[in-house]
């Protein structure tokens, strides 16, 4: 019995140490990853509207609506990241609007952003009154995600669909022609 107690104590002690070291290594990463800091922006639709109205008139914006729980969204994220990097010098900016549930921001979204080291700007949209704001993004959007809006001062196109990189780049090029 005494032995068992000792073993148990050591086991817990051991795990405890491991946990702390895990925490430590995470904290080191926190410094590197922008989204584990507390600056993940959470907005309602009023707050999102600034992203839907060209802040910089010379830029083309690619707004992708996604969530960590949406498998097809997660699948296409790398293409948006690639687009953001490849076209950064051509005045293209990708914004990833997360529709993750507020209660899962800490438990799911932040770890996801950390793990995948996303470089595009991520904004969390928390606005339950979807019936009001969905038509403001596009009148034909049924509300299914993934969904993407590409716009500049010349035109706006909304896509309720998934993309691969080639399809996404092809669409973007339509905006860069002018």
């Amino acid at each position: 019995m005494k032995h068992l107690f000792l073993i148990l104590t050591f086991t817990f002690f051991g795990f405890g140490n491991q946990y702390i070291s895990l925490l430590n290594s995470n904290q080191i990463k926190i410094v590197d990853a922008p989204y584990l800091k507390q600056d993940l922006k959470i907005v309602d639709f009023d707050g999102l509207e600034q992203y839907l109205a060209a802040k910089d008139k010379s830029k083309t914006y690619v707004i992708n609506f996604w969530a960590t729980w949406c498998a097809p969204c997660v699948k296409e994220l790398p293409y948006f990241e690639q687009l953001n990097t490849t076209y950064a010098d051509k005045k293209v900016e990708v914004i990833l609007v997360s529709l993750d549930f507020p209660k899962q921001i800490e438990s799911k979204l932040k770890p996801f952003l950390l793990k995948n080291k996303l470089k595009s700007e991520v904004v969390v949209l928390n606005d339950v009154d979807a019936n009001t704001w969905i038509p403001k993004v596009d009148k034909n959007w049924s509300g299914a995600i993934p969904a993407t809006l590409i716009y500049n001062t010349q035109k706006t196109v909304f896509y309720e669909q998934s993309f691969d990189y080639i399809a996404l780049e092809t669409e973007l090029k339509q905006f860069l022609k002018q």
Partner: protein, 206 residues
């Protein structure tokens, strides 16, 4: 003079905007309000085949495209159950249909549907759109996606399309219960005031 300048500016903006009006790639197919909805023969979790025509005494239906794996659908499970409890006896039973391709989403296969229905004690049919040919006719694009139908002489007429209510996060914070309002109106021989709403949902997996 300043006013004229301002007006001209506004006009130019309007013309520019309308010249580049938003094009959309989403499909516009599917039912509109007033269309007659198709009946179907789909397998239920109990192994039986269910059709709308089986419900001889029904005055209409609350058809819910839903699934096990979508967090939005899950958030609404208890509320869908509540709709059936409230309206089945009044003549508007819930008919739930799982539209996803189960190869893409194994968590929505028949076994998983049975398990989920048992866990949650579903009192309504939970059918599988195995051929994936019913949801496109309705025009459902996501889960959950609701169609309230009223039985009329020409068939089951679509009276409401959209969301269950206006707060997926918190059932207690709901301000407008769209589906309940629609069914209540139909039960009282009134027009459905809000007959189409939008909500976020998981795209149906093809």
């Amino acid at each position: 003079m300043k006013k004229i300048f301002k007006l001209t500016l506004v006009l130019v903006v309007i013309i520019t905007v309308s010249a580049f009006t938003t094009k959309t790639n989403s499909t516009d197919s599917g039912y509109k309000i007033g269309d007659v909805a198709t009946d179907f023969e789909l397998e239920n979790i109990d192994g039986n085949v269910v059709s709308l025509s089986d419900f001889e005494d029904a005055k209409g239906f609350i058809v819910v495209f839903t699934c096990n794996t979508c967090p939005y659908a899950v958030a609404y499970e208890d509320r869908v159950q509540g709709l059936n409890k409230k309206y089945a006896d009044l003549g508007y039973p819930v008919i739930a249909i799982m539209p996803n391709n189960t190869t893409v989403k194994p968590g929505d296969n028949m076994e998983a549907m049975k398990t989920r229905a048992k866990e949650k004690g579903f009192t309504f049919p939970y059918l599988m759109d195995a051929g994936q040919d019913i949801y496109p006719q309705y025009g459902a694009t996501k889960t959950p996606h609701v169609y309230v139908l009223q039985k009329e002489q020409k068939g089951n007429v679509v009276k409401y399309i959209g969301a269950i209510d206006d707060n997926y996060q918190d059932a207690n914070a709901v301000k407008t219960k769209y589906v309940e309002d629609a069914v209540d109106a139909l039960l009282n021989n009134k027009e459905v005031k809000i007959n189409e709403t939008k909500a976020i949902g998981c795209s149906i997996k093809v």
